[in-house]
């Protein structure tokens, strides 16, 4: 008995979970069954610490085509087309091996989207690393960016946007969240539920090897720590060429109506895809591991069932159509093998050459894991560190230049130029030219805008309010290009939920997400939870990452974030009430503390509508959300992008009660920096601040007034390559 206990603990199951498995099976599990249970009952697969919270999220909406529970969510974009999208984390693999970790993160999210029958058309990434003065962070950044580029570029899907933040708490546990957006004819889409007793189960794509064994349970569901190099074998190896063939193969099969259902093999491999397909369809499944094409001949049944080899898909096919399906696989030079059958047993049975080596009730395997209540405990004050890099004596000019050069704010051209952003010929707004990426959809006769956001530092200050802000920032980014939100996906990256402070952060963040989405009327159509993101020094900043897809009627009517022409008036729209709480300036001064002011969600939504309508009507020359670094940084970005200076006076903000430095560098939701015709801005109710022109960024703010030559500001803002490549990489 002691030996058995040791084994299940090694696989990440608690004693009481093991006892529950014995109770549900009516006997002790054998090795195959124990391996499969340990994966499907892991945090990564069972969401056992988060599922109860996720019930708070609004998931209904008239444009929702598929909601949570499918491989990805999908919304209707008109003319018989739907857009499918999802964001997913690949944090722990990337922290152990950044190139392959990030590459297979992209590969995995692509499969989730084409599993629905949608052709992937865009990728966005949300990345978090430690500060760039750490050699480890530079190594992780370089590897992750190369990995994302390697996979996305090779498979021919445009990487159109994303964000990168650098903060000390991500030093050991970087975050790599990848989002994929796909387009499908709604009638061609399929669900993941297995159906039709007697139908064949066909495994397509790559062969199965020993890579990625234990990825979901050992790597993704525990904290990182010393000796993680030993976990490298749990990281999968990606092959975008194989995925490209499987993608085309699956889309051809679905286009010909040859598949009953389709599911990708991700975390927990065959175990999870077979189990989840059976559970969703209320049926049983028999899998014969002897028929699975292997890379190594001597693999044990449990290894075959838990392997996380990449680029594999599982399909349910009517028996008469199997030959046609295999012929399409042959055409694309990718694997296709009938490995099992749909049954009415309600059991997942694993066979080897006809001999049963595992036999478990589907319900127990997939839904039998106990769900835990969190035990939240609000921490007292600021629980993360503070490190000052600016002295209180710094002038406003020095502060502006330091903010523009901060890696989290500086231009990310170094990264996004390593990604193909134009393949597919849909990209109307490329990275950094507007607040959201804009992709045209000639099929549907309109366009979509996509944005991904989440500022972990602000969520650390106030998990509820910080998460509300992430949703609002996404909505504001969409408004800047004239888009109206259709749906949202999210990835909740948090530390160890068994610790009260993290539990409290998670609980508050989910409430903030739910309330903001409800207030904006944006349904949550899918998402992912990544817990146990901790290093030896403690947890990461709580980091909910929000991805939003919006619709705009005419791709020719969008606005860029850069000023457009000399003499245009500059104005501020929205209920912007900046403070230094949680700001980049507060970080650089080393004075971060708990607490953020409340956002007025209703007022922000109203401002979004004003900006959106004005952009759609072609009335604004530029629109830019005021975000990290406050108004001064937003002005500098709009000016640098245009190669034009600006002269503004922030007195109107000071009249609202802002201190000069709050007006300059304070952050908060609800601010839109717009430019255009003066009369139009007045009609829109914008607060006029000044005008475009000159060769400097001149901002009057009482005793903190700033004047920085444009070229100097641009030098600071473009300093990321020098900071990222200081090792001579």
């Amino acid at each position: 008995m002691t030996v058995e206990l040791a084994k299940h603990r090694e696989l990440g199951l608690t004693d009481s979970e093991f006892e529950l498995i014995v109770e549900q099976l009516g006997r002790e599990p054998n090795d195959v069954e124990l391996a499969m249970f340990s994966l499907l009952w892991s945090e990564h697969c069972a969401y056992k610490h988060s599922r109860k919270l996720l019930g708070r999220l609004p998931t209904e909406g008239e444009r929702v085509v598929m909601g949570p529970g499918e491989n990805a969510g999908a919304v209707d974009v008109g003319n018989g087309y739907a857009v499918a999208f999802k964001v997913e984390s690949h944090n722990h693999p990337s922290a152990v091996e950044p190139f392959q970790g990030a590459a297979t993160g992209v590969g995995g999210i692509l499969r989730d989207v084409f599993a629905l029958g949608a052709r992937p058309i865009a990728i966005l990434d949300s990345l978090r690393f430690g500060e760039l003065d750490s050699v480890r962070s530079r190594h992780l950044l370089d590897g992750a960016v190369r990995g994302i580029g390697h996979y996305g570029n090779s498979i021919g899907v445009a990487t159109v946007g994303g964000e990168i933040y650098f903060e000390e708490p991500y030093e050991h546990n970087c975050l790599v969240n990848a989002m994929c957006v796909g387009l499908a004819r709604t009638e061609d889409m399929v669900r993941a539920a297995a159906a039709g007793v007697g139908n064949a189960v066909v495994l397509m794509g790559a062969s199965t090897g020993r890579d990625g064994i234990g990825g979901a349970s050992v790597l993704a569901s525990a904290e990182l720590g010393e000796g993680d190099e030993a976990k490298r074998p749990t990281v999968q190896i990606g092959d975008p060429f194989e995925e490209s063939k499987v993608l085309e193969c699956c889309l051809e099969l679905l286009g010909k109506g040859l598949l009953v259902s389709l599911q990708d093999l991700g975390a927990a491999g065959l175990t999870s895809s077979a189990g989840e397909m059976a559970a969703a369809g209320g049926v049983g499944i028999d899998i014969d591991v002897a028929r699975v094409p292997l890379r190594e001949a001597d693999m044990e049944p449990f290894e075959i069932m838990v392997s996380e080899s990449q680029e594999r898909m599982l399909a349910v096919v009517e028996p008469a159509r199997v030959p046609e399906v295999l012929a399409v696989c042959e055409k694309w030079q990718t694997g296709g093998t009938e490995i099992g059958v749909v049954t009415d047993s309600g059991q997942v049975r694993i066979l080897r050459d006809g001999e049963v080596v595992g036999d478990m009730p589907v319900e127990s395997l997939v839904d039998g894991c106990p769900l835990y209540d969190l035990e939240p405990g609000e921490p007292q004050g600021w629980i993360y560190g503070n490190r000052a890099t600016l002295t209180p004596e710094a002038t406003a000019e020095q502060e502006l230049l330091a903010l523009l050069a901060a890696p989290s704010i500086a231009s990310k051209r170094w990264a996004f130029e390593q990604y193909d952003s134009v393949v597919g010929s849909r990209t109307v707004r490329r990275p950094e030219s507007a607040d959201a990426a804009v992709l045209r959809l000639p099929e549907a006769g309109n366009a979509i805008a996509v944005s991904i956001d989440g500022n972990g530092r602000r969520v650390a200050c106030d998990p509820y309010e910080g998460t509300v802000e992430a949703v609002l920032e996404c909505a504001q980014n969409l408004a800047c290009v004239g888009a109206e939100p259709l749906g949202l996906t999210n990835c909740l990256n948090f530390g160890n939920p068994e610790k009260p402070a993290t539990a409290w952060q998670l609980d508050r963040a989910v409430s903030g997400l739910a309330d903001a989405c409800t207030a904006l009327g944006v349904p949550v159509v899918g998402g992912n939870v990544s817990l146990y993101n901790e290093g030896p020094d403690g947890p990461i900043y709580p980091t909910p990452v929000v991805g939003m897809v919006g619709e705009l009627p005419d791709p020719a009517r969008t606005a860029g974030s850069a000023f457009a022409k000399q003499g245009d008036a500059i104005g501020l729209v929205g209920p912007f009430a900046p403070t230094l709480a949680g700001s980049e300036l507060a970080k650089q001064r080393g004075v971060l503390d708990a607490g953020l002011p409340r956002s007025d969600v209703t007022a922000v939504a109203a401002a979004c509508a004003i900006v959106r309508d004005a952009v759609r009507a072609g009335r604004l020359a530029s629109a830019h959300d005021v975000s990290d670094g406050g108004l001064a940084v937003a002005l500098a970005e709009a000016a640098i992008g245009a190669g034009l200076g600006c002269r503004v006076d922030l007195q109107p903000l000071r009249d609202r009660g802002c201190q000069p430095e709050e007006a300059l560098f304070g952050e908060g939701s609800g601010g839109f920096l717009v430019s255009g015709d003066r009369a139009t801005l007045e009609e829109l109710g914008a607060t006029l601040l000044g005008e475009v022109g000159g060769e400097a960024i001149e901002i009057a703010a009482g005793d903190r007034s700033v004047a920085v030559p444009l070229a100097e500001a641009e030098r600071a803002w473009r300093s990321l390559p020098a900071q990222a490549e200081r090792d001579g990489a």
Binding site: R146, G149, H150, N153, S154, I155, G156, D239, P240, F241, E242, S244, K245, E248, W332, Q333, F416, E417, Q418, Y419, D420, S421, V422, V423, G424, S425, R426, T427, V428, R430, R440, P555, A556
Partner: protein, 212 residues
């Protein structure tokens, strides 16, 4: 005019190339890499991507495909052929164009809108995106290319980001009916997505076809 776009496993830009051919002039169809006949097309495009995963070396496997044998015959008979990015690499590997494409000087994949200058001095703004686009040929071969007027496109001043010899972005064969370039004209056929300058590349190929 009917265009054929060769599709290998791992091609990425074949749908964009099809669309660009249609916008440029007339009809376009895909040619599967296993086909030995080109089906009576008037011009052929070898599109961008990572044919056969670019394993071994970019374009090294694609040159042995049945469709490429047919393309070689088509080119020898004077048929117009355009190779874009990976297609350019394939044509160099197949010996239909001189030179070779090496890894970018900075050893990174770069995606950027670049300014090109054509043989007549006209400027084009077209996206480039590749990790192995540094044009290389021996010095005497480069001299011959220039003397024969085979340098079809050069990167404009300060635009040669990959370190190509003599700023060369695209070359043609001696007969002038086979053209290869690293930047992507098929992504530049609509003002909404950046520019329409790419159409001029397709028109030049179509004109070569008309002369043949």
């Amino acid at each position: 005019m009917i265009w054929g776009v060769v599709q290998f496993p791992g091609s990425c830009d074949e749908r964009d190339a099809l669309h660009a051919c249609e916008v440029a002039s007339g009809e376009a169809r895909l040619i599967w890499h296993e086909e030995r006949e080109l089906g009576g097309v008037d011009a052929v495009v070898i599109p961008g991507g990572f044919s056969y995963g670019d394993y071994l070396r970019a374009g090294a496997i694609a040159r042995f495909s049945p469709a490429m044998e047919a393309v070689a015959g088509f080119a020898a008979a004077g048929g117009p052929v355009l190779g874009i990015c990976n297609g350019f690499q394939v044509l160099c590997e197949a010996g239909l164009l001189p030179g070779a494409l090496l890894r970018n000087e900075e050893l990174r994949f770069i995606c950027r809108q670049v300014e090109l200058v054509d043989a007549g001095g006209g400027r084009l703004s077209i996206p480039a995106k590749h990790g192995e686009g540094r044009y290389h040929a021996p010095e005497d071969a480069l001299d011959r290319l220039e003397a024969n007027g085979q340098v079809a496109y050069r990167y404009a001043t300060d635009q040669n980001f990959n370190g190509s010899a003599r700023d060369i972005a695209g070359v043609s064969n001696e007969a002038g009916n086979v053209l290869g370039l690293m930047p992507h004209p098929e992504h530049a056929v609509d003002p909404l997505t950046g520019s329409t300058d790419g159409l001029r590349v397709f028109e030049a190929v179509a004109a070569a076809g008309a002369r043949a």
